[in-house]
Amino acid sequence: MDNNNKLYVVDTSVTAKLFLVEEQSEEAKQIYRQATRQEIMLLAPELTCYELISVLTQADMPLSEVKEHLLLFEKLVKDEAAKTKGPGSN
C-alpha cells in the first residue's frame, strides 16, 4: 500500500450501511471500494466488530443474513480494506 494514501477512521455507522439499505449506503460502499483498491486506508476501533454485531442483530433480520454480513466484514478486515485497532495494539 502506498504510504501517501490518506488514512481515515471509520465509524461503525458507516460500516453498518454496507449491510443495510438506507440513505448513504452507496457512499459507504464507495468508501470501502476505495479502501479495497488501496486508494485510501481505513482504520476502525476494535469495538467496531462488537457494535456491528449489535446493530445487525437488533435490526430485525434473519441470523443467516447477519452471518453473511459478518463474513464479508471479516473478509474486508482480512484483506486490509479496513484495519481494526484496539487500545493495546500498535
Binding site: M1, T12, S13, A16, K17, L18, F19, L20, V21, E22, S25, K29, Y32, R33, T36, R37, Q38, E51, S54, V55, L56, Q58, A59, D60, M61, E65, E68, H69, L72, K75, L76, K78, D79, E80, A81
Partner: protein, 132 residues
Amino acid sequence: MSLMKTKESLSTANSVRVTLDVPVPDNIHFHFSSREVQTAFGHFLLENPHIMGLVFENLTKHRQEIGQSQISPWTRISKAQKVLASLSDLADDDSESSPRNIQQTLELLENHKPSRVKVNSTQLLRDIRDNG
C-alpha cells in the same frame, strides 16, 4: 535395600529421558555418570530388543488417547522448524493483498446483498451506545 536414581539425565537426539532405578545395598553410595547409564542402557536394549517395541507401542497408544493436539517427544518440532513455519505464515499473509485477492474482495463487495430492513443504523447505534 533402597532404590537409587541416577542424578544425571540423559539427553538423546530423540529427547528420551532415561532414569535408572537400581537396587543397591544400604549404606553404599552409588553415583552413575550419564555415560555409564547410557552404556548400561545400550547393553540392556541389546539384550532385550523387545523393550523398545513396547516403548513405541505405549507411546503410540498414549498419543491416541490424548489426541493429536499434544505432541509426543517423537514428533516434537524443532525451533528452526517453528521459525520456518512462522515465515511461511507470514508469506501467506502477504499474499492476502495480491491483485487477485483485491479483485476477489471487490467482487464480493459488489455482489453482496444488503438486508432490506427498515432501520436507521446511525440512530440504532446511538441508542446502543447510550443504553448498552
